[in-house]
């Protein structure tokens, strides 16, 4: 499912957060949006998710203009995106429960996805009983269980230590490729951007749009 952003402008009160932004993400691509804090990366993500009102321009996903949220566009948050009163399994079940999947089907799916992200046996743990990295695995499992067409990730590994972050980056690329979802991944970490993205867009200092190969070539040279 392709995402096309055309002349996007978003304002918070009188502050212009994004101005006249154009962006294209092709189906199955992992696009990384990098840039310093406050450059509007998160706002861009929230706009694609349908969580913010757009002042001008439009966002088109698979030929349909975005108006409000949809289960086709899932979001992964930095931390605390899990509901703390639900166990890991019940968090993963939530998107299925919302669209009326019966309990047995939900349970099986939750077990399967938690297993996929390496958390078999942690179904009944509450988020507070899990480490930061494990909580992000649960979020990932939840997102995959939702089977969205587009995954929007808002600095999901920023709070993790280096080793856990590296593990998670590997896992994310693996499962997203497997699921074939279109992904927009926001980070302020250039290293992460290069490691994950098929393409990297740097926001803030006049947009730069580069392919991974170009960056790698530059680094190698």
């Amino acid at each position: 499912m392709s995402v096309r952003v055309e002349g996007l402008t978003v304002r918070y009160g009188s502050a212009v957060v994004l101005q006249d932004l154009d962006l294209d993400v092709s189906t199955g691509e992992i696009l990384v949006v990098a840039g310093p804090s406050g450059c509007g990366k998160s706002t861009l993500l929230r706009a694609v998710a349908g969580l913010v009102t757009v002042a001008a321009g439009r966002i088109v996903v698979d030929g349909q203009e975005v108006r409000g949220t949809s289960r086709d566009r899932a979001m992964v948050f930095q931390d605390d995106g899990l509901l703390p009163w639900r166990t890991a399994a019940r968090n993963v079940e939530l998107p299925l429960a919302l669209r009326g999947v019966p309990r047995t089907g939900r349970r099986a799916a939750a077990r399967r996805w938690l297993d996929r992200v390496g958390l078999a046996g942690f179904e009944r743990h509450l988020p507070r009983e899990l480490s930061g990295g494990m909580r992000q695995r649960v979020q990932l499992a939840r997102t995959l269980a939702q089977r969205p067409k587009v995954v929007l990730m808002d600095e999901p590994f920023a709070a993790l230590d280096a080793q856990t972050r590296a593990d998670m980056q590997e896992l994310v690329v693996e499962v997203l490729r497997e699921a074939g979802t279109t992904t927009v991944f926001v980070t302020h970490d250039v290293d992460e951007a290069v490691r994950l993205g098929d393409r990297v867009v740097v926001l803030g200092t006049g947009e730069v749009d580069v392919r991974r190969e170009a960056i790698l070539a530059a680094v190698m040279a």
Partner: protein, 279 residues
């Protein structure tokens, strides 16, 4: 990596249980000891008729009060009073719990309803419930309904205010998460707002229960025909001082029991909260 994490969790649990087991005994000795010391001091001061500015010579002793309590516990009247007061609390408090949480959520979630209701509620809120007794007497056909009304008003505001704050303090991320899963407004309410505000709501319920007792007893003293408050005031007017203290102790115990029940229910539904291990 996962195996390592699992082992760590288990160790922490065992560790805290051992530590608690060691401390529990000492803490109970302290609690019971302080209660006994209080009673002992009271007995000594009243039995010796100590008068040093404060005049303990006219107060009944612990033994007199205990004897009176046993005597009253043998009468049907005592239980009628208990049941009457508890019934008033139950009616007023439950009504306040339902209306207080519902309105608290609606006011916090809807700007329109907030604008319409909040000014009204904010003007009524500072009025002590007990000051509404004249209104209650005029407004309701029976005293009984008036007393339940007073109890309701007393518990209603703490519950309303706590719920409103709890809803406004909810992290927006939880709502965003449910919406990007395709959740509707109703889903956000059921899956995020209701469970997420429970800790705050129970804070309000605890306070509400305490205030409800203060007001039901006061209202009974003014206009009741049965009830622990009415009986306590009656004892005072016929100079039965041990009877007054029996009434006070009964009120204290009932208040403590009902507050504990609320507290316990609150803990049960908010097990997910991070909290220090307490015995």
């Amino acid at each position: 990596m996962t195996a390592r994490v699992e082992r760590r969790t288990v160790n922490v649990r065992i560790g805290s249980r051992v530590r608690n087991g060691h401390v529990v005994g000492t803490r109970w000795v302290l609690r019971i000891g302080s209660l006994t010391a209080g009673l002992l001091l009271w007995q000594v001061l009243t039995a010796t008729g100590t008068t040093a500015w404060l005049r303990f010579d006219r107060l009944p002793t612990v033994v007199e009060v205990a004897r009176r309590l046993v005597e009253q516990a043998g009468t049907a009247e005592f239980y009628t009073d208990l049941v009457t007061s508890l019934g008033r609390i139950a009616a007023g408090f439950l009504l306040a719990a339902v209306l207080g949480t519902t309105l608290g959520i609606v006011i916090a979630r809807s700007r329109l309803v907030g604008d319409v209701l909040q000014p009204l509620l904010e003007v009524v809120r500072p009025i002590p419930a007990i000051a509404l007794v004249p209104i209650a007497i005029l407004l309701f056909p029976t005293d009984e309904q008036g007393i339940v009304f007073i109890t309701f008003v007393a518990a209603f505001f703490p519950i309303l205010v706590s719920t409103r704050h709890a809803v406004r303090a909810l992290p927006t991320m939880w709502e965003d998460a449910v919406r990007t899963m395709g959740g509707s407004r109703r889903h956000v309410l059921l899956k995020v707002v209701l469970p997420g505000t429970l800790p705050g709501v129970f804070g309000g319920l605890s306070v509400g229960m305490g205030v409800a007792w203060i007001c039901v007893i006061s209202a009974e003293m003014i206009s009741g025909r049965y009830g622990v408050g009415y009986r306590t005031w009656q004892a005072y007017t016929i100079v039965d001082y041990p009877g007054v203290i029996v009434g006070m102790v009964t009120i204290g115990l009932l208040g403590w029991l009902t507050s504990s029940a609320v507290e316990l229910a609150g803990r049960r539904v908010t097990r997910w909260l991070p909290r220090e291990a307490k015995p």
